[in-house]
């Protein structure tokens, strides 16, 4: 039975050593690097009129329980043309990380789509291009045609097919962010 004794001893010792392994310090929180929490579209009128700002902001990230806060400040004016720009931020970091820089660096792998829906009568056109001469969409123009209200969907796609026919369906790729805003033209 000597062997048995030794084996038992070995067993207990190992468990003891294992159980004593409790001196770890607390882990560090993970810096979420890829999250986009905030998309802000700013429309500056080229002529008369006021600025329109559309924003979606999801401070606990896309998988947190809090829904994004969607705001539209200002209304479009019939016949007016706007210089549009879009900004993407990761506000889980302090200071917030500017995602636009990454999009610009990898402009051939990104495209932003602006889709009017629900009867909204606007015309959009890209004013920037990637290194290959294909549209990117960080800046654009928007013309409000007739009065009414509807929706404006803005989608950032990663790795779309470029060139494409201008629709997200043809472009494919993965949606990094997509929001539909309620917009009114007066």
């Amino acid at each position: 039975m000597k062997t048995f004794k030794y084996l038992t001893l070995l067993f207990v010792t190992t468990l003891f050593i294992a159980c004593n392994n409790d001196d770890d310090s607390n882990p560090d929180p993970v810096n979420e690097e890829e999250v986009i929490t905030t998309m802000t579209i700013t429309l500056e009128p080229t002529g008369a009129g006021t600025q329109v700002v559309m924003q979606t902001r999801d401070i606990d990230g896309p998988d947190g329980p809090e829904p994004p806060v969607v705001t539209v400040v200002g209304e479009l004016v019939v016949g007016a043309t706007y210089n549009g720009s879009v900004a993407f931020l990761n506000e889980t970091e302090t200071p917030p990380e500017n995602i636009n820089e990454e999009i610009e660096e990898e402009d051939d792998e990104h495209q932003i789509f602006y889709i009017a829906g629900g009867g909204l009568d606007v015309t959009t056109a890209y004013t920037d291009q990637d290194g290959d001469g294909n549209p990117l969409g960080l800046t654009f123009t928007l013309t409000a045609n007739t009065a009414g209200s509807g929706t404006m969907t803005v989608i950032l796609r990663h790795e779309p097919t470029k060139p494409n026919d201008g629709t997200p369906a043809d472009a494919g790729g993965e949606t990094d962010i997509a929001e539909t805003f309620d917009v009114t033209i007066n």
């Binding site: 070995l10 468990l15 990454e102 629709t167």
Partner: protein
Amino acid sequence: MLVCIAPFLAYAQDCDLTLSGQVIDLHNNAPNGGAMLYIKELSKTIIANDNGYYEIDGLCSGNYTIMVSHPECNTITRDIVIRSNTVRTFKMEHHLEELNEVIVQGKSEFDKLASVREVQLSDDALERNSGKTLGDALNEISGVSSLNTGNTIVKPIINGLHSSRVTIINNGTRLEDQEWGVEHAPNIDINASDKVAVIKNAAALQYSGDAIGGAVILEPSRVVVKDTLYGKTLLTLGTNGRGGVISSQLTKGFESGFFGQVRGTLRRFGDFEAPDYILSNTGADEKSLFARIGVNRFTYRLEGSYSLFQNKLGILRASHLGGPQDQFRAINSPEPLIIRDFTYDIDVPRQEVTHHVFKVKGDRNFGAHSNIAFHYTYQQNNRFEFDIRRGDDAGKASVDLNLETHTLALDFKTKIGDGFNFKSGITGDYQENFANPNTGVRRLIPDYERYHFGIYAITDYEVNDFLQLEGGLRLDYTHLDALKFYRMSFWESRNYDMLFPELVLEEFGNEVLTNPTLDFANVSATAGIAYQLSDDITGYFNYALASRAPNPSELFSEGLHHSASRIELGDLRFDSETSNKFSVTLEGRLKGFQFTLNPYANFISDFVVIEPTEIRQTIRGNFQVWEYRQTDAYFLGFDLDTSVSLSDHLNWESQFSFLKAYERENDLPLINIPPTRFANRLSYKNASLNNLKVTLGGTYVFRQNEFPDNNFDVFIPETDSIELLDISTPPDGYFLMSLSAEYPFTIKNESQLVLGLSVENLLDESYRNYLNRFRFYADDLGRNILLHLKINY
């Protein structure tokens, strides 16, 4: 011991009785020629003839103790009452020649469960699947199917249950490889094992008490105690994936009992193909190594081994989605959204896993009938998942988990009396999971330490040659100490801030670091009967109680699961899940017809299911939230295996598996339950044509008609409409044919070469499999022509 105290009563006037009969192998009824029969009371030895027949004459009326031994078998002892001339057949287990196993002693009577049929993959099946995964090979067993993520990540499902409910025992130790995830395939090379068996039950209590679905047992072969050197090389080349697998092993044995063995496998495939297109980024690159040295002596055995398993598996590019709108496009596209030219490169998304196992084991016999065994195993499982990322993060892993497990076990077994065995053991393990924070992605599984302790006792009693009883009890205690970051918003929305304020260690902005410590005590038990109803039919009945502590994924999940395009939420408050499984097996052999019928009923309380509970509006669109919850469920099904000899050369085997699984409360079907499957194989074998073997296979998989409805609405901006996203409806049934032929050659000396050719999905059928998570995005594999080459030397 009972054996020794059999009273001996003699009647002087009646001493011309004979005892005669045959000594045969328990498994195949082959005669055990040359077996020795020792009549204890007479101190007399009789040797059976070459056909196993023996005759002992000049016996007086009375009780005798006969010990039957054979060089290749376990010695058996039987008490026999002689009143007249008696004919008696002795059945022996043909295993002792392979001495190195810890569980050598009384293998026949003991280590195999008596009341549950262990279904073993034949050598043929193992070699046929040499180029594939463990999950693919196990698919050949009735009642076993697989949950696939594409064609390279294949998880076994036993009677409808998978992941943490299926325990994998590799070389005597439970595999600890983060088995909780549906896209985590077992980190095992099928070529490293010679025995692969499935126990469709939780009855294997010496290994675990929580195998609610069942256990997969893998063991390397035993090395013969003699001076020997032998090896085997298997080469498989396949047209689909344009790659192959080479696996080689070499074994050296010595008369002294020392032995050494090395095995290695390389597996490399490029993109696989569906009938109409390439499945881009589905290649596989796998390496495995297994080496062991040891000594086999009659009274003790000692062995040290190391195994390495490393793989890099591509994940279908078209399955990577940004959100429900992308998913809608992908599901409604007849072809995968991304099809590229064939390549061997494995890009993102992909997994890279390395699994190391160091093991020392030994056992020693005590007296004539007892044995004590121990093993210590260290396992390290390192899993990386690489996703499609942007900027500086491109090329950086999104998941980087390192799981280390130390296991120590002691097992004791003894024979209490004739046909009465007892086995008991304790096992302890310590596990530590480390999630690397440098990924830049919130930890999927938190850092944790787990202590586990288990103790079991099993006994089995052979009442007579026809009836065998067994029973076992196991207690497990698990302590989990985790360090988990919760999003403050989640912590509060779940009311955890009110329920568990004491768990909070620190607050970091919008995150909170908590220290959940959880304790689970689990009881499992088994009871069974094996009864030989007639010479041709044997019945088995088994009841198994199993209890499983929730796994880290079920407890701690809290976030977006990219490959499923859904948010998954676990629950800290879960209890253990408990199953009561009743299974009956009828095994019969009637002339040329053999069958195994195995109906079962499994009632599981607190069954952990994950199902959609709400639609969450997020910055990427509306995601479905899938929450784990506990419910009561039941699984009713049966597996039927038949085999008919149609002629001397022709054999027809078929398997039929049927299963229904429902939630008890609302009678709703459970998700991902294997559909009914009917598999057939017609084999032609001709000994006069040098053992040529040709097999034609046909498998029909029915459509799963019972499924929960998890569909939801998605706003599609392009069409300015709200569309139904159908993620529930199973695909149609399908019929797959296969053809294989093999022809053995003998090349010089004793080396043997077997050449085989097989075709899978012979008709190049386009189909989608309900149990493949990528069925939404792409068809399954098209035709595959494989060339097999086996050399034994």
